[in-house]
Symmetry: C2
Subunit: 401 residues, 2 copies
């Protein structure tokens, strides 16, 4: 039995975009949809009731973080992540690949070198060329060895291990283990990395299909390939050829490459399966993605920005720390229907932010999530109503990046 | 017209305790009641909806903090504190006296010396005897001069000024300006300070009565006198003789002195007016206070403790940082009906706390406020049911301090 069912209700004429819905074991996601990020099993500063109040239909948690703390087996012993975090709607987990590499890259700089080894502990003894900085992540043929950013403990993640962790967490939609490369890497490295991602995709899928969890959890394969047209197309074709329930589009994109990459990929991916553009969430990118056939997006920006005082409005992001808001009796955005805009002035939010009160983060996160989630909902409605292009033009003409 | 109406429904036989209710312009407070503290115009880490979910009927904000940031006139320009903070139930503000002295005492040690001056700026140029630490607060005959703990700016608060600030904030119940002394001060100093508190009480009341705000805001006078029986009784008699709407009982109490002081005072205060024991909130002290005729309590302990990981249970306070909770599938307290206990395990709370997630503070504060507020509600019910003594014995036999 298929754990998810994807229905397309309407397509954008002459474009790849579409509106529909995705049935999961924990409820329906109307697509296109923005997925709220709950990194460590909590959308920062919000209760599940507050998450629901933003219009959120789905949450994505990070496998890497939960594997390290409190541990996937512990979460399994609590009945899985839904129950553990008290989120009873659709839930996704990423594969952990992105964090393994990005946290590694943040420390060891010159890593991502491939070595061929059988004993994972050997990998960690490698040092970067730049002085004596220990590598946090080292890539082997079969997996990645890395040290925990929390306690320095040694870990080795293979495609099978990533899926096993995600089975323990029990989300409705999980992802194949992949390597996310930097856009600055050379073609040769991108090609090698892509081959690994493809091998790991097949292994992830085989392991997943061999387990009963494949009846209740959907597995998405991830398309990589950086900014290279040939690699993106090759990846879309290969990943499409495998029996995944849907697809992720990964990559650390340079802004100007994103649209072409998404187009190359979505022209190839089978229309009838859902597509998730990983880690993207700025308004202009959401329009681009929706127009080009993306069904799901996730990004930490709305909640992270809110904690730093950045708040979305129809005319762009404002910073609540700005002195001009201290006396303002206006809400963040007059057109916004979120509970923060209905009940609080910029003046009060300014006071909370200046007083370092936690409520500033909570009220700001409610607003930002509502804003971004409802922006994508409006795009969906515009597709259904046949006026996506007008809506996009109208919104972007007012919104300053 | 009287801004509040206090009705006693039942009294404890042979004791001072009573159950009733207090009607305010923004709703009814069933008494005895625990008042949630929202220092800077927000109960830390909670939205007003979450405050209500704890059973809270009333919030107390701090005049000192709001006067300094964002300023009482600013809050007035926003339509008053109720509207500014989106709390539409009964609201109290303290007089600012306690913070002026406690923040002063925390810095200058050897202050609280009285000088007689007319120019408040002279006060601040005084230095403590212990080296070169500038005094943050210096007491004059007519008021207190202090420097802001935020930006070092100079301020001078008189009884009239305190009431003016509280009129600008617009709470339903406000307090007379008083001096809260340390229990270690000598009798002579306590006596002098009490004379000041009494003069300031009269001035506070006269200023209040001269303004139309006295129609919509109730003013409570504060009884001081430290641990001295003669001073406590003198203070209760004097403050009773003035036309206050209710009374506060102030003081930095040594635990063992609290009960005698409350008794001395409440035997004298007129029965028909409400009494608020300021800054007290531990379970054993709440029983003592209720038994001895206290109607209202406020304390930062429930929310402050929660942020530090301390959580109330029927057998005492636990610390969520303790390793034994990591694997616990139990709620904080099986008998608790709060939303945290209904939806989350100790294991999950432990994970949030260890991961430094804000949600740990939110869920912990919801639980602690619910616990303390409902403890006082149960005391109220026990008075109405005629079994207060049994309830007290039963609770305290299980609860370890």
């Amino acid at each position: 039995m298929n754990p998810i069912k994807f229905i397309i209700e309407k397509e954008l004429e002459g474009e790849l975009g579409r509106a529909g819905f995705l049935e999961t074991p924990h409820g329906i996601i109307n697509t296109p949809a923005f997925v709220s990020v709950g990194t460590k099993g909590t959308v920062k500063a919000l209760t599940p009731e507050q998450i629901i109040s933003t219009g959120a239909e789905v949450v994505l948690a990070n496998t890497y973080h939960l594997y390290l703390q409190p541990g996937d087996e512990k979460i399994k012993s609590f009945g899985g992540l839904h129950k553990f975090m008290n989120w009873h709607g659709p839930l996704m987990t990423d594969s952990g690949g992105y964090q393994v590499f990005s946290l590694g890259a943040a420390y060891g700089k010159n890593l991502n070198k491939v070595v061929s080894i059988t004993d994972p502990s050997l990998l960690i003894s490698e040092r970067s060329n730049e002085g004596d900085i220990p590598r946090l992540a080292t890539i082997g043929t079969d997996g990645v060895s890395f040290r925990s950013h929390i306690d320095g403990s040694l870990h080795y993640i293979t495609p099978e291990k990533s899926i096993e962790i995600q089975h323990n967490l029990g989300a409705d939609i999980i992802f194949a283990f992949d390597e996310c490369t930097s856009p600055t890497e050379k073609f040769e490295y991108q090609e090698e990395a892509l081959d690994r991602t493809h091998r790991w995709a097949k292994k992830s899928l085989e392991y997943h299909k061999s387990k009963p969890n494949s009846e209740s959890q959907a597995l998405f394969g991830i398309v990589q390939g950086g900014r290279e047209e040939s690699l993106r197309k090759k990846s879309a074709e290969y990943i499409s050829s495998l029996d995944f329930d849907g697809f992720g589009i990964g990559g650390s994109f340079a802004k100007e490459d994103m649209e072409t990459a998404v187009k190359w990929v979505n022209e190839i991916l089978p229309k009838e399966k859902p597509r998730h553009l990983l880690g993207i969430g700025e308004p202009e990118d959401l329009f681009m993605g929706v127009e080009n056939g993306v069904d799901l997006f996730d990004c930490v920006a709305p909640t992270r920005r809110a904690r730093g005082g950045g708040l979305y409005t129809n005319s762009g992001v404002i910073n609540i720390g700005n002195a001009r808001f201290v006396d303002s009796h206006e809400p963040i955005d007059r057109e916004c229907g979120c509970s923060t805009c209905k009940n609080y002035t910029l003046g009060y939010l300014s006071h909370l932010y200046r007083s370092h009160e936690m409520l500033a983060s909570t009220l700001g996160s409610i607003h930002n999530l509502y804003f971004i989630i409802n922006l994508v909902k409006k795009m969906r409605q515009a597709i259904l109503d046949g006026n996506f292009e007008e809506y996009k033009k109208d919104f972007l003409s007012k919104y300053k990046k």
